[in-house]
Symmetry: C2
Subunit: 211 residues, 2 copies
């Protein structure tokens, strides 16, 4: 499972091959199937385990009595560490498309439970004026995005350790929710004309509303 998580994180789920996973685990491809029913199950276990750990962190954040920003910061740092450092951690919980009819539902349910839990914390913080967010749902997802994206760029052989990255990213993510925004011009006076349509010369414009 550790090998699978590694390969999933490095190549992405769809691009990861069972033969590659097997070789990373020092097994023959066929032998993998005596431990796992198939690729989907492997993916499911990785995701399920990561989510379980994150839900534990969420429960801890709920029960602590420290100020909300501090609790969220710990939650965020643990979240990032789950993706990066912990050997068995996997960023696979981000790709839910794919295939599994039954398994997918279980993962999505768990993931939603996690997200809803965080959103409840955020919304509560906003109500108590300890946090600031225009929309708790969007803010929560942006918050999670800053955390999840680390799986895309972190390199274990890089300059900073997983712990350092987790701390820095967690600080950033929580700062986005903290109040006392420093008088940013709320809507920006800049012209803002998207330079849209971009004059594409293009071959021709077939298929305009066919079907």
């Amino acid at each position: 499972m550790r090998a699978a998580a590694q390969v999933f994180r490095a190549r992405g789920f769809a691009a990861a091959g069972m033969r590659e996973i097997a070789s990373a685990a020092d097994l023959s491809p066929a032998n993998l199937y005596h431990y796992f029913r198939g690729k989907d199950e492997l993916r499911f276990f990785c995701q399920d385990q990561s989510l379980e750990r994150m839900l534990n962190a969420l429960a801890r954040a709920r029960r602590e009595r420290a100020p909300l920003p501090a609790r969220l910061r710990d939650l965020a740092a643990t979240h990032v560490l789950c993706l990066l450092d912990e050997v068995e951690g996997s960023a696979a919980h981000l790709e839910v498309y794919g295939l599994p009819p039954r398994l997918r539902a279980r993962i999505v349910a768990k993931r939603d439970r996690y997200e809803r839990g965080i959103r409840a914390l955020v919304a509560d913080g906003v109500r108590r004026r300890q946090l600031h967010a225009a929309d708790a749902t969007i803010a929560t997802r942006a918050f999670l995005g800053a955390l999840n994206w680390t799986a895309h760029w972190f390199r274990p052989d890089g300059a900073q350790s997983a712990q350092q990255v987790a701390d820095a990213v967690a600080d950033y993510a929580v700062a986005g929710l903290s109040n006392r925004q420093s008088t940013i011009s709320q809507r920006s006076a800049i012209s803002h004309q998207p330079s849209h349509d971009h004059h594409r010369p293009d071959r021709q414009r077939r298929n305009n509303r066919g079907r």
Copy 2:
């Protein structure tokens, strides 16, 4: 290309099939190859175009004279709109693995140019004390993560429009750079014992520092 971008965003690059793209574009699979050399080129065009638009937004942010947070906010909102709203936009620029030997270099170079440009803005803001970030590189990537992640959860038929989401996410992302951490216990007094090593019985420890 619009159809390809759609399928790429929905299924991911590796999981997207040429047959599916073709059918989404009302073409036969074979016919696709009279307009594009192959899947890689299709991917390249999508990524290149998105990046081009983002680089334009970056150039605008560089030349404006508004306060830095406001400029970053506009840049962020445009970035999100590139991923979400603009029909031809594509979130494909996030998957650079895959295959292309020559094309890959060009995309990565362009992406790095974009990231470096933003990082320069951030670092400059930190120097002028208009922004706050412990590490400009990590902060920039967390910033971009909050933006990029929208491609994973945004649904066009959802409650809020792409513009609303872009605004809210951009506000959050910039707040993470402009908010002084409000005396969050810097290292959090919470116990924090990662429940690490998790007692894995493990088979054996081959390949420790192999390479």
